[in-house]
């Protein structure tokens, strides 16, 4: 069955192939900058997105759909083409681990994408190796890989997923080593009676899926979806989507280890380990995690194994037994069984941020110069790197700050958390911002004890800037957007 179809569609041609190396884009259109100047005046309401009724109008520039699968990212962009069917872009497809019925939900979402697109997606981008962004490729593997139902012209990943890139290899190796240690540490914490801290770490590690290898499996599925696989780098030339007037820029991730490991704006990063300290931590606790005998600090003759120590009157009185000195008899609050693993949670946060910084960040520049920004889960180092980016398009320079200042639509980073939307050199530079989409499910986040997801202050500021045009997965569409947003149980969709 599959054979029949594949024969029909042998080796689809990549629309980026070859173009990447060229310095010039086809001069079929006027320069985007000029269009921006002329067209923006014609727009019906400058402050508001187009209304839904205009969807079929000639003025339709793009439709952006955010699926409402839960805490996770899955976006579908519909870009009209002069001839024939629209150009479809899917960015990410995942939901956080622990979501009830996740498999069914994601299959439902993928099925819906197939129906909408008629089984043909021109561009699929998977931003980074986190479960809440790519779980759907594993959970609905059959649907994705069924060439009879779905064809995908081209797949984009970030250079950090490129197995041949030396820096990507190095970073991946480090993350894997740290992840294994942290998993073991979390297990030890759970066993030594500290389930809360263990949960905290497990919660952060759950971004890598339920068991070892599950996110890399999902990513493997993504890699196999098209022969045209591109590992994007910010220095690559922007890509013009064929038969549209949309140009796509890859802003991140920065090809710079220091920036990948920069997680917050302050210079000092007071609460985190430096890279050396991280290695030191691994050196310190790994032997103890892997075996209890090696590297014992004292000679065997001093060692009293815990089961024997537990029977000694002294340790009964001052550690395991009841506290006869206090009115409070239970002295478990004073025990330190898991304290040696406490620093693990700081490291789990770093691992999380380091992975988030490998995000593929895409800016879609529309024909009139307006920009849609999909920031994935990029953290500070990724954001800062955009400042120095610059491309030559039709002989003119386009810079990172330039794209930021023309951003009208912003896919809010990392479900609206603190350090995933830079304030200065970030949000405050988005002078044209009209709509923000936040793929967040606060109730689910709270279940994971991530009470700060989304960050209230950030939501407030976004509402202020966009004049209450902030759309969230877990909320109904705000009143003043009702006209331009189609809202169903399964998705919110805005027409721009």
């Amino acid at each position: 069955m599959a054979n029949r179809k594949t024969k029909k569609k042998v080796a689809r041609k990549s629309f980026t192939a070859g173009k990447n190396r060229k310095t010039k884009t086809k001069p079929a259109n006027k320069t985007p900058r000029k269009r921006a100047a002329t067209k923006s005046k014609k727009k019906p309401t400058a402050a508001q997105p187009a209304s839904a009724s205009q969807a079929n109008n000639e003025s339709l520039r793009v439709k952006i759909r955010m699926y409402r699968q839960g805490l996770g990212d899955c976006f579908l962009l519909t870009i009209p083409r002069k001839t024939g069917k629209p150009f479809y872009v899917v960015i990410d497809c995942g939901v956080i681990l622990g979501t009830k019925n996740a498999g069914n939900i994601m299959s439902h979402v993928v099925q819906h994408i197939i129906e909408t697109t008629g089984g043909h997606i021109q561009l699929l981008a998977a931003t980074h190796e986190h479960w809440d962004h790519i779980s759907g490729f594993g959970q609905a593997r059959e649907l994705w890989s069924d060439k009879g139902k779905l064809t995908i012209d081209e797949v984009w990943l970030s250079w950090a997923e490129n197995p041949k890139d030396p820096l990507a290899q190095k970073l991946r190796g480090e993350r894997q080593a740290l992840r294994l240690t942290l998993q073991t540490a979390a297990a030890r914490m759970a066993l030594s009676g500290n389930p809360e801290s263990a949960d905290e770490i497990s919660g952060l590690l759950s971004f890598f899926g339920a068991s070892a290898g599950s996110t890399s499996d999902a990513l493997e599925v993504v890699r196999g979806l098209s022969e045209n696989l591109r590992y994007c780098k910010p220095q690559d030339n922007p890509v013009k989507l064929p038969e549209t007037d949309v140009t796509v820029y890859a802003l991140g991730p920065p090809p710079d280890e220091k920036l990948i490991k920069k997680y917050n704006p302050s210079k000092k990063e007071p609460e985190t380990y430096g890279i050396n300290a991280m290695n030191q931590y691994l050196e310190d606790i790994t032997p103890a995690l892997m075996s209890s005998d090696l590297d014992a600090p004292f000679d065997e003759k001093f060692q009293i194994p815990l089961p024997a120590g537990r029977q000694m009157a002294f340790f009964q009185r001052y550690y395991w037994g009841e506290d006869i000195n206090s009115k409070e008899k239970n002295q478990s609050w004073r025990r330190i069984d898991g304290s040696w693993l406490d620093s693990s949670s700081a490291l789990a946060l770093q691992l999380d941020s380091a992975t988030n910084n490998t995000c593929l960040v895409l800016a879609f520049e529309l024909g009139d110069g307006d920009v849609l920004l999909f920031a994935a889960d990029a953290q500070v180092g990724n954001w800062l790197s955009w400042q120095d980016l610059s491309w030559k398009v039709d002989g003119k320079a386009v810079t990172g700050p330039d794209l930021l200042s023309r951003t009208v639509f912003y896919k809010v980073g990392h479900h609206g958390s603190q350090n995933a939307t830079l304030r200065e050199k970030g949000l405050e530079e988005m002078k044209s911002l009209k709509v923000a989409f936040v793929p967040v499910d606060h109730e689910m986040a709270v279940k994971k004890r991530w009470n700060k997801m989304p960050l209230n202050e950030l939501m407030d500021r976004l509402n202020q800037i966009t004049n209450q045009c902030v759309v969230r997965i877990d909320e109904d569409v705000p009143a003043n957007l009702k006209k331009s947003v189609t809202s169903e149980k399964l998705f919110h969709e805005v027409v721009l």
């Binding site: 497990s202 007071p270 037994g321 040696w340 999380d352």
Partner: protein, 1177 residues
Amino acid sequence: MQSITRKPKLLVKMPTGPPRLALAFGSSKFQVSLEPLFKSIKASGQARIAKAPEWQILTATTSADEVNAWDLCHQVISKGMGIAGLGAVEFAEPDIEQQWIFGEEAEHALAGVGPCERPQDPDTRLPMGNGFYWFRDPTHSQLQLAREELGQPAKRIRIAHFDTGYDAHHITRPQFLRTDLQRNFVDDGLPGDATDHSTGVFNNLGHGTGTLSILAGAAVDGSPLGGAAFLDVIPIRVANSVVLFKNSAIAQAFDYIHSLANDPNTQVHVITMSMGGLASQAWAEAVNALYDLGVFIVTAAGNNFGNFPTHNIVYPARFKRVVAACGVMADGRPYADLPVKIMAGNYGPEKKMSSALAAFTPNTPWARLGCSELVDHNGRGTSAATPQIASAAALWIQKFKSKWENYSQSWMRVEAVRKALFDAARLVSSAQSSRLGHGIIQAQATLAQSPAKEAALTKQPADKASFPLLRVITGLGLVSPDARQRMLELEALQLAQQSHELEQLLPDPEDDPLDLTVAQRQQVIDALASTPGASRNLREALGKRARGISPEVTVPGQVKTADSAALERAMNPSLPSPVTRMLQVFAFDPLLGTKLETVGLNKTNLSVRWEKLEPGPVGDYLEVVDVDPATGVCYAPVDLNHALPLSQSGLSPSETNPQFHQQMAYAVAMKTIEHFEYALGRVALWAPRIVKTKSKVEVYFVPRLRIYPHAVREANSFYSPEKISLLFGYFLASESNPGENLPGQTVFCCLSHDIVAHETTHALLDGLHRRFREPTNADVLAFHEAFADIVALFQHFTVPEALRDQIARTRGDLAQQSLLGELAQQFGQGIGRYGALRSAIGYVENGHWHQAVPSTGDYQNATEAHDRGAVLVAAIFDAFLSIYRKRSSDLVRLATGGTGVLQPGAIPHELVERLAQEASKTASQVLNICIRALDYCPPVDMTFGDYVRALITADRDLVPDDDLGYRVAFTEAFRRRGIYPQLVRNLSTESVCWDSPELDLDIHVCLQQMSLTWDLHANRKRAYDSSRHNAYIFHEWIKKRVSDDEALSLGFYRSENSTLKVENEVGTLSRFEVHSVRPVRRVGPDGQQQLDLVVEITQTWRPSNRSFDKYRGGCTLIIDLESQRIRYCIRKRVGHAERIGAQQGFRLSMADSSIRSNYFDDTTDRHEPFAMLHRGA
């Protein structure tokens, strides 16, 4: 077992009552709910009568004060449930939550997270048979042969598998898994789902998946894994994923099996359970009921390490009506009595072994949960042995099913299986029966045994959980003990099961107590009575018989009173207590001992105040507890009162001896405490332990700071405010980048004089000002660190050994006085600490040390906590240098005949000695001044500017005339670094000192009611109590006698729960709190020492729409007890708009710089703020 609990759970046998009721016990009041434990098992033999007592689970739904669950049980028996007409409670026992030990934590954790790529290897320390499935081969259990003999029966008998559940997707999942009958007694809301599901990343231990694969695992390599692969298996989940189970869950599972017996289609023939623990009466009754129904039960004998805590078989395996599964290894040796670090199986007591069998372990196959195609090779413990016996029994029943069902009495079925298994078992020598019971199971040989004739079967007497010795002890005789007595026995039995000592004294608690000598009995009584966790009821029952301590010789009663007293004295002459105890320590840290030029000066003696010490050392202030969980060991506590260390200033410094580490940590920490007490003129207190429950806040006095010398494996040490403990780390110096250390050498933080003093200071400061660890501005956290550093630094300077050699060696540098700064910087360098903090003092350039040049921008420009702290340390150090220079200049002039220029060559030893003394004396004075200032600080939101004012005011109060210019030295040093108090016009002493309050309050009445006897000789508990009492009096006084306006002038509001608007933001004020009332010393105008009083008052304002935000304010009052007036009011107004704005901004900037705030509410580590701060260093 934790018998002490805030939320008790009991199993109670009583008539059915209302589902909810209230239960009072002493001061604790619990809301409890009741639900039936047994639905099928009813009071045996009795006809159903209304109000017959039945087992029920009593669960407290609210928590209250701690109770001992056993004492609560006794109260329920003696006083009932407090409901008239409910009828008597027949029996009650705690519903214990128990952990099944079946391996080491480290192994479990690794197994749990390992990738599904390859199986875990067998333990090579222990034997293993041929091939990975050796346990079932003809030379071992013969299970494969037996299974093949039976083939695939048409009508399958049923085995109930009690465990953590099963993995629905594993290839070993049994072919005939009766999921229609599965049950879950662990997770609420999932009664019909026994899968062992894991959430999150940590795959759980998968114990049930492992045992199930041995029992009835489906084909792996063509041949089924388990012996009972072709029989029905009913999965029952009785324990959670880490094999933690409640007694009630197992009892309910037994009851469920009981309920299935009525229907021949569901009837269960065999129960297997690879876990167990402490005895339970409810279990005993369930086991008896199932025996009467003909259900064969086999459970695991239990595991131990080095026979700790006991090698005796656990319950329910210990019941005679249950077969205990012991272990035998592949080579036929008993799986018992192995080295202490290797897990072994339980055995004994002797009488139990007549109903015990052995099966193979360790290194059996073990299906791994979550890895659907993986079978590990390291199945171990009696967990692995149990299912082998169960499957052998089941195969036999299957073979002789019709005959077996025809026994006239149901119990005979159990006995018939047992006889067949026992008779066929192989025992190489009778000597092994003490470990293997009837011997090693032989499944095929068992099938050759026909069912025995009825006459050949003997009924086992009913099982109970008893401790006959207690009946003799309590004089109640051996017959028909009442409920109370039986409960005492059960408790004693549970205690004995957990005590190595009791096991040694009384190998079998069920032995005839009359066989014991009186002395032996007495030992058991003493041991029981002194067991931690024993209930008051049990202690009282043993009470009179437990040995007290009596004097060796007593004076006869006939002697006249006066004479008697004199004689008493003569016989027991009192010894004067020594004043100090000398203890050896490293003067710096061990690193210096490894360098040739410093090897000589690395040891010194500290003279520590004499106190009564117990091993640990445990004294009045400190308790050193040396547990090292990362390594999985403890180190014996040092006994400094032992004649040998006592006679030679303690143990000599050694890195390799943990007992010396304990001694050094104790000595240095005590020294820090002494400095505090000397400076403050009163005994020091630790922060109290505060427990917040839903209904109230409990505050407990903490007599001792706990010190863990080897708590963590990292280059970090910290004070834990939550545990009120110091946790010291150790780590291996990096192989690649060892710094000053030897590569691969272990570095111990507790051997650094500085680190111990630093951490102790954190604890002392927290005891004084607990709000100082709330980061409300950049200075607060910086202050905690800087202050701890200042104390560590100057305490170190008070040790002349630390100075003498440097002064002598660098004589030429004396003029610049740089050596002390250099020395200061060197402190702690080996540990890699303080680098940032002390770099403010100076720097090394071209091999020469230079003092840093201060600038008035230093303070403003340092925004980060460590940098800011460094500025304060540098300022204090600068002041110290000026004072020292002044004090030593005369010595240099004397030594140089007035020129001040030293001759070339070594300077005279006497001069070195005098200069060192001078420096040491100056250091201790500076230390005093710095510590005394703490009493003059605001209670919240401290800034460095506040500290400057506190320091100058405190010093002026103690030393009214400043002829040596100390205060000038300090203000000058602060000024040069830009540390200014707010709203102060100039830096003259007068304007820097705190102001007196605007209002003159009459506090006469209030002071009269207070008890003010807290000084250096006070009992610390009493000091603590009187401080709290005084705080209460002060609080009442403000409430009743102070007007709203007056309170407002002190910086807070009298009314509680009122709303307060700050800059358009509405918020709520909490009740004002009086935190601390403590005495402070000063010198009166007549030169007489006087005590003043410090009172701290705080209040919290919470904005209504941001309820997680807290903004505190309040004041510190210093009250002159002589004139009964408030001398100073150091105020931080509550609801002060500017301060609130600043604090808000600071909080945001903290959140900005923290990746924690991507997810969590708390930006700093919840529990260990200091650990966090130190890691950043």
